[in-house]
Assembly symmetry: C2
Homo-oligomer: 389 residues x 2
C-alpha cells in the first residue's frame, strides 16, 4: 500500500498557517501540539482523556521503548496503537536525542552511537539502520531520521562536522526504510549559525521527505539566539510540507513558533510541570504549591473546559498535591495538555479569521503581564512579513 | 429538614439479603462495597470513573481530613461532594480507628483520645463531641459514632472496659449531633467473644440508630475467629437496618460477609493491592510483577468490563508497572474496584434469583482453586440456615 502523506495548507496569515496532514491513522489539523508518551504512555493520562482534550498525534520515544519493553513486544501488539490503546496517529523520535544526552555514557562514530543502557548498564548500539528497524517495529505514522543534536554550546567546527554526518545518516535511513505507510521526516541541524543551517537545509531538501523537523534548538541557547534560527530555517523549508520544531512547548514558544510558520510541536513540559504542581494559564504559570492556593475556591483556570477546571477548586488540588495524592499530577497534567491544545486551537481560529498577529500581541500582553520580551515581539513582527528567503 | 434513612429489604436468600437505602444524596442498593477516599480522593481515581464503575457511596477519613486540609476548608466547599466533586453519598468514619492505630503516640481516657499529629507532631485531642463536629462539617450522609477498636490480641477485661466506654461515647455522640440530614451509625464491639458481643449489642440497640456497624474485626485475628463473630453479631442486629462490616474487603470476605447478612463494606485493599501490581480476578489474585505477565497479550481479566480490561494487555500493564508509570496503579486500582463492585452485583443478582449459596459455592471452588477453606464453607452453611439468635 502506497500512502501519500498529503499536507494541504488551508490558510495563511503572514508566516503563520493552518493545514491538514493525512496519515494512515487519520487526518490531523495543524498547527498542533503532540503530547509525549515517553515509555508508551503520556504520564498519568488515558487514551480516552487524550482524545477528549483534543490530542491528535502522540509522540513515543524509540530509545526508551527499544530498551524496555523492547520493540518486539510492541510489534506483537500490532504496534503502538495496539500496545498503548491510543487509536490515533503516532510519531516516534529516532532515539538519537536521548542517546546523545547520555553524555560520557555514549560514544559517537560514523557508524552510529554506542551507549550504556541506563537500565542495566549493558552495551547497546544505535545506528541509522537500527533506529529505522526499531521505528518500523513500533509502527508510528511519522518516524524521524537518526540525527545528532549537538549540545549547546558546541564548537562551530563540531556542529558542521556533525550536520554533515547527520546528512550521511539520513541517506542510510532512506536506504533501509521498508514501510511505505510511515512518513520519514528529515531533521535540519546547524545550531544557531545561519550559514550552517543553510548548509544543512541544502543537503537535506533533496531527499524530499514528507516533512522536515527543525532540530538542535531549545537545548540551552537563549530565546534571542533560538528564534532567529527558527525563522531562518522555517522560511526556507518547502511550503507544502509540515515543519516540526522538536522538543518545544512552553506556551510562549507555541505562539512564537506558529507565528514563524511552524506546524508541529512536542514537549514533556506540560506534564512535567504539572507533576511539580504548576498549572498553565493565559496569566502565566500558576503555582499550586503556594500557600495562597490552599484557600482559593476557584478553578485552576476559569476559562478552561478540562475535567479538572470543571470539577475542582485550586484549594482541593493544592490539598491533593500536599497530600501527595496521584490525582494531583494526573489532573494538573490533564489541564496543562488541554491548555496547550486549546491555545493552538485559538491560534488556528485566529489564522482562519486572518487576525493572528493581533491575537498573539494581545495574548502576549496578558501572559507576560505587560513585559513582552524583545525576542517575542520580533517573532511577531517577522510573522507579519512575507517569507522571503 | 427531617430525613428518613429508609432501609427496605427487597429480597432474602438465607441470611443474605438485598435492600435499598435512602440517603440525602441518593438511594443506594445493598449489598455494596464502598471505595475508600482517605484524604478526599480514592487514590488515582476520578469521580467520573467511580460513577462509571458502579461505586455508590464513598468513604472518607475524618482523622486525615481534620488534620489536612482541616474540616473548615471542606465545609467551605459545601462538604465532601463539593470538595471532591463526587456527587453521590459519602460515609465518614469517626477518626477513632486511625487514632487508635497510632500506638504509643496516643493516650485514651474517658474523655477521648489525645494524640500526636503525624504530620507536624502537634498535640491533638479527639473526643466524641469533636468527632461529630468534624463529621458535621465534612457533611457525609452517613457518619460513624466515635468508638474504640481494641487491638488484637487484647485482654478480655480490656475489651469489656473498652466496649462499655464506647457505649458511653455513643451516648455523647447522640447528644451533640445537630444535623438531621446525617445518619449516625453505632458500632458494635466485643472482639471475638460472643458474650462481650452480646453485651455490646444489648447496650447499643436501644439507641435505635439508623444503621449498625460490626467493628473490632479484621484487625489481626484469624478468619476462623472472625466469621463466627460476624455471624453472631449480624444475626442479632435489627432486620430493618443496614449492617456495615468495617474495614473489610477481600473478595472472599465480601462473599462470606454477604452470606452472613452484611450489607456494607469498605476497604483500602483493592486500591492498595492495585498500586503494588496485583489484580483481583475470579481465579484469585494476579501478580503483574511476575515475569510471566510481561508477555501475556490478554486482558487482566477477560470477564471484566472495566477500561483497563477493555483496552490493555497484561504485558502492557506489566510494562507500565516496571517503568513506574502512574497509569499502572491507576488502571489496576480501577480494575480492582470494578472487580469488587461487579462481584457484589453478581451476588445481588444471585440473591434476587434465590440461588446465592449455590452461586457462592461455585465461585469459591474456582477462586480457591478447589481448596475452599473451612471457615468459608461454614459461613455458607450458616447462610442457608435461618437467623435464629
Amino acid at each position: 500500500m502506497k500512502v501519500v502523506f498529503e499536507f494541504e495548507v488551508k490558510q495563511r496569515d503572514g508566516r503563520a498557517r493552518t493545514a491538514t496532514f493525512a496519515t494512515p491513522r487519520g487526518q490531523v489539523t495543524t498547527p498542533m501540539f503532540m503530547p509525549v508518551g515517553t515509555q508508551g504512555t503520556v504520564k498519568g493520562i488515558s487514551p480516552q482523556e487524550l482524545s477528549d482534550i483534543g490530542s491528535q498525534m502522540v509522540l513515543a520515544n524509540t530509545y526508551h521503548l527499544m530498551l524496555r519493553p523492547g520493540e518486539q513486544l510492541v510489534e506483537a501488539h500490532g504496534g503502538l496503537p495496539g500496545f498503548t490503546a491510543y487509536p490515533g496517529p503516532f510519531l516516534t523520535d529516532s532515539g538519537g536525542f536521548q542517546v546523545m544526552s547520555l553524555g560520557h555514557l555514549r560514544k559517537i562514530t560514523e557508524e552510529g552511537v554506542v551507549f550504556k543502557n541506563h537500565l542495566d548498564g549493558s552495551r547497546v548500539e544505535l545506528t541509522p539502520e537500527r533506529s529505522i528497524q526499531v521505528q518500523e517495529a513500533l509502527g508510528a505514522d511519522v518516524i524521524m531520521a537518526f540525527d545528532e543534536c549537538p549540545p549547546y554550546p558546541a564548537e562551530r567546527s563540531y556542529i558542521q562536522a556533525s550536520l554533515e554526518r547527520t546528512v550521511r545518516w539520513l541517506e542510510r535511513c532512506h536506504t533501509v526504510k521498508t514501510r511505505e505507510d510511515q512518513a520519514l521526516f528529515a531533521i535540519v541541524q546547524g545550531g544557531v549559525h545561519e550559514d550552517l543551517r543553510l548548509q544543512s537545509l541544502e543537503a537535506t531538501l533533496p531527499f524530499a521527505t514528507p516533512g522536515f523537523a527543525v532540530g538542535g534548538l531549545a537545548v540551552g541557547e537563549s530565546k534571542e539566539e533560538m528564534y532567529p534560527a527558527v525563522a531562518f530555517t522555517a522560511s526556507r523549508l518547502p511550503e507544502n510540507k509540515p515543519r516540526y520544531l522538536m522538543g518545544v512547548g512552553h506556551p510562549e514558544d507555541l505562539v512564537a513558533g506558529i507565528a514563524l510558520g511552524i506546524d508541529m510541536f512536542d514537549c514533556v513540559y506540560p506534564t512535567r510541570t504539572g507533576r511539580f504542581g504548576y498549572a498553565l494559564t493565559d496569566d502565566g504559570r500558576l503555582n499550586l504549591n503556594s500557600s495562597a492556593a490552599r484557600t482559593q475556591l476557584v478553578p485552576l483556570d476559569p476559562e478552561c473546559d478540562c475535567y479538572a477546571c470543571r470539577h475542582y477548586t485550586r484549594a482541593y488540588l493544592a490539598h491533593l498535591l500536599r497530600a501527595e495524592e496521584m490525582l494531583a499530577p494526573r489532573m494538573l497534567s490533564l489541564h496543562n495538555l488541554r491548555y496547550l491544545h486549546r491555545l493552538v486551537e485559538r491560534m488556528r481560529d485566529a489564522i482562519t479569521q486572518q487576525h493572528f498577529q493581533a491575537w498573539a500581541a494581545e495574548w502576549s500582553q496578558r501572559y507576560f503581564r505587560g513585559n513582552v520580551p524583545e525576542w517575542f515581539r520580533k517573532a511577531l513582527e517577522q510573522s507579519a512579513r512575507p517569507e522571503t528567503p
